[in-house]
Subunit: 192 residues, 2 copies
DNA sequence: ACCTGAACACCGTTCAAGT
DNA sequence: ACCTGAACACCGTTCAAGT
């Protein structure tokens, strides 16, 4: 990449972070370009779609999330690991408004620039679930798709202004639906 | 209302139902007007906002939903009533793509044409919850806001193409998070 | 190589002019 | 009363012309 292009690239990301913080995932691409003092066409040259931009915006967080799954898998009890990771996912979901809805949509469509990231999150969570199921601390009548649906649904919910105040409690409720032992102390550590 | 206006009004609703069935709640208002052979301004005269149109589109379903809450409250066991109504809500959520997201947004904003309808659904569900809690069959550490958040989150989830295939099972999982007795036969009747 | 203004086909809002 | 074309300020896409 040429020096000026590289400079534009990182400048776009900086500005996009600001704009998206204010307006959420539906922020106007034109507005981002405007605030970066660039033509809209230039922005779209670097990030041909909104999802390409978000993949770049979120890749650090997303990598941290999948890496955290690896760490938890070796260093924590299965149910504890699942719940800690679930918490981390919800924190991620709250990074910018609308990200979860965007990821849920991207999850369906292999052409999306976010598809690979979604799949990575999905498989990380599925791995943690299977491990807890092996130990008998997570419901056996549930698969990776179910887990992903539940945590994504909660991620969407805590994104809604009217539901956000109850985010912690809602987390606890969903957690209790996933774990076998409702009052497990491990779960409590993660859900309280 | 003048005769021609009344005719336009109902014609718009008929056409809107078709277009929204195809394109979901984000369907273009212009497209609806076009298909109705009317100027966009005429459509917006009858329904000044998208939410006003949807309030009209959904009012029959919404009324049925709140009325169903009344019926269930007198004719069924509290936990059974709660679960039957929950099922009806999910069926409503599946009537058109995007309605749940729209209602969640409307729920926050008192100026929305859908606000009253959201409040009605909210209070109907809260009533059924309190009754089940009184009997001890629904979790005590949960309020009407929590329930509304959970059922709305599930409504959103089953709206996503990738989660829809597991809709029934996801319902069961959320139901088990709401009810006290996980394998209650009443719950089973509603969740299976 | 990389940037960008401009034309394009959309969207919902508003209102003056028509019947 | 009710309808509507047109102007408006937006949006993302595309590409020919510039450096």
């Amino acid at each position: 990449m040429r020096a000026d292009a590289r400079k534009n690239y990182s400048h776009i990301l900086t500005v996009a972070r600001e704009v998206v913080t204010e307006h959420g995932a539906d922020a106007s691409m034109r507005d981002i370009a405007r605030r970066a003092d660039l033509g809209l066409a230039t922005l779209l040259r670097h990030f041909p779609t909104r999802e390409a931009l978000f993949d770049a915006l979120l890749c650090t967080n997303l990598d941290a999330l999948t890496q955290k799954a690896d760490e938890l898998e070796t260093s924590n009890a299965p149910d504890e690991a699942l719940m800690f990771w679930f918490r981390a996912w919800i924190a991620f979901a709250q990074s910018y408004r609308g990200v979860v809805a965007m990821m849920a949509a991207a999850h369906t469509n292999p052409d999306s620039a976010l598809y690979a990231s979604c799949a990575a999150v999905h498989s990380a969570s599925a791995r943690l679930l299977r491990r807890a199921q092996g130990e008998g601390t997570a419901r056996a009548d549930m698969n990776g798709d179910d887990l992903f649906a539940l945590i994504t649904a909660l991620g969407w919910a805590v994104d809604q202004p009217s539901f956000a105040p109850r985010a912690d409690h809602l987390f606890h409720l969903i957690a209790s639906a996933i774990l076998t032992n409702r009052s497990s102390s491990d779960a409590k550590k993660a859900t309280c």
